[in-house]
Amino acid sequence: MKTLNGRAWKFGDMVTTDHICPGRYFHLRTNLPELAKHTLEDARADYAKNVKPGDIVVAGRNFGMGSSREHAPVVIKVSGASAVVAKSFARIFYRNAVNIGLPVVICDTSRIEDGDELSIDLETGKLIDMTKKFEIKFAPMPAAMMGILSEGGLVPYIQKHGDLKI
């Protein structure tokens, strides 16, 4: 998997699936490009307007708390972000992100500030803050999930393996 490079968009703790993909846009759930225009709207209204391809969502604890709506990681991916980095993730969001091929990284994000240029190597487990010149090592994803993510998500995984061989 190649190195991911992009600008950090900093968020706080407990960003919910309602912050990421508000229920009031329910009617847009089958129109992903339109739905993605509201990505993270209730956390930072400037995100969806200004996010550039490759940018990285950086957050605190329990990112993605709440609903099982897969649209939450989907809109982050469609918005152009290349990864989400957080101190911790809510369980369902984390699994959904891997399933749709959105890289998710768990590490201490305290020192990363909004706008920092980041570089992430998923294989070696290294995040470099190019702006502040420091490096954070992170534990690799559990093998079962890395197997799915490295195929690009659960659908390509099943297409390749024909079965769940976890």
């Binding site: 309602d18 329910f26 369980r91």
Partner: protein, 413 residues
């Protein structure tokens, strides 16, 4: 109990932390995530479920449909169910979790759905958990899923609840102690005398909110009450006893003395932001909602009707009531519950997810406060990020509707 259920499925002993691939007994998708689920099945080139009779499509999120886009999505799910011979629950039949409890879930089963509150069926002793559209597409297509066997947290509730205090207050109190991430990746097990004495209606309320502490499942032992419930639903033969071993290992244990539990309210914007109603009494509300997969069952509506019968809600309050299923609505009509609520000023809407998730009616205005019997109070949850959502029991909701401000139901004369 998780190890027992998943071990039984795997045909071997399993322990916490291990990953198992397991057969799925029931898998459902609803109209909020069903279209994406069918898209993924199409990409996988799977045209039929592995087990159509164990696959259920349920229309509950937008009932009745407010626009052509949603109608077209619902029509697609309806058509797919018919073509594949899958089971189908039409809009108005009920909220998916109530439909699963009434018609499908049984002890020892693995139940999956495209909704985080799928954990509700844990009240019947099922390993029930919510997943995203892709996982559900794979479960429908292959008839199986993979799960990490969770560690367990024991919530023991002993003694008798005070009059005016209910299961909702117990679970809000427990989440207040656990925190919204306190059970992330774990199984919650509700045990103790108070739980044993609870009816299935109340147990479903407890399990429903396990996910609000991050839990993967919220399990309750199956017992004589479960057996009787299943028999009344024509599923008596599905009964099996699932209970924790005497020496079961828990990662954490918490005891709640039932008599100390107070009517509890969760303030915006997180479910663990709880306090006793008595400490915040008098806070003005503009709307009250009684319904949802958490608290839209017959007993919930009866509790509210008992408080409101022969009276009228405050002129400052809009009261919306949504029964969890058509069956609930019929029973509540037959026993006079609905009439009492409507006479008291309630607007009754068709069975469905309704006001809970902010996509269909009952959206509060800027600066308003809404007290609901639902399970989430996240920013914007009820459709307007400039309003505040407060969670409480049906009794607190009814008392609050009557007074126009947050009211402890024990304080009503």
């Amino acid at each position: 109990m998780s190890e027992k259920i998943l071990g039984q499925k795997a045909g071997r002993e399993v322990s916490a932390g291990e990953i198992v691939v397991t057969e799925v007994d029931y898998v459902f998708a609803h109209d909020a995530s069903g279209p994406l689920t069918l898209d993924q099945l199409k990409t996988l080139n799977i045209s039929k479920p592995a087990h159509p009779d164990r696959t259920i499509l349920i229309l509950d999120h937008a009932v009745p449909s407010p626009n052509s886009t949603i109608s077209n999505n619902q029509a697609r799910l309806r058509k797919w169910a018919k073509e594949t011979g899958s089971r189908f629950s039409e809009a108005g039949e009920g909220i998916c979790h109530q439909v699963m409890a009434e018609n499908y879930a049984s002890p020892g089963q693995v139940v999956l759905g495209t909704d985080s509150h799928t954990v509700t069926a844990g009240a019947l002793g099922a390993f029930a958990t919510g997943m995203g559209a892709t996982d559900i597409a794979v479960a429908i297509g292959l008839g199986k899923t993979w799960l990490r066997v969770p560690e367990s947290i024991k919530i023991e509730v002993e003694g008798a609840l005070q009059p005016g205090v209910y299961a909702k207050d117990v679970i809000l109190t427990a989440i207040g102690k656990l925190g919204v991430e306190g059970a992330n990746y774990k199984a919650l097990e509700f045990v103790g005398e108070t739980i044993s004495k609870m009816r299935i209606d109340e147990r479903l309320t407890l399990s429903n909110m396990a996910v609000e502490a991050g839990a993967k499942v919220g399990l309750i032992s199956s017992d004589a009450t479960t057996k009787k419930y299943l028999e009344s639903r024509g599923r008596g033969k599905n009964f099996q006893q699932i209970a924790p071993d005497k020496n079961a290992e828990y990662e954490r244990e918490m005891t709640i003395e039932a008599e100390n539990v107070e009517p509890t309210v969760a303030f915006p914007d997180n479910v663990d932001n709880v306090k006793p109603v008595s400490e915040a009494a008098g806070l003005e509300m503009q709307q009250v909602f009684i319904g949802s997969c958490t608290n839209g069952r017959l007993q919930d509506l009866q509790i509210a009707a008992k408080i409101l019968k022969g009276k009228h809600v405050s002129p400052n309050i809009r009261l919306i009531v949504t029964p969890a299923s058509r069956e609930t609505l019929i029973l509540a009509m037959q026993d006079g519950t609905i009439e009492a609520l409507v006479q008291a000023g309630a607007s009754v809407t068709p069975p469905g997810c309704g006001v809970c998730f902010g996509a269909l009616g009952g959206v509060p205005a800027d600066g308003e406060r809404i007290l609901t019997t639902t399970n989430r109070n996240f920013l914007g949850r009820t459709g307007n990020p400039n309003a505040g959502t407060y969670l409480a029991s049906p009794a607190t909701a009814a008392a609050t509707a009557l007074k126009g401000a947050l009211t402890d139901p024990r304080r009503l004369a």
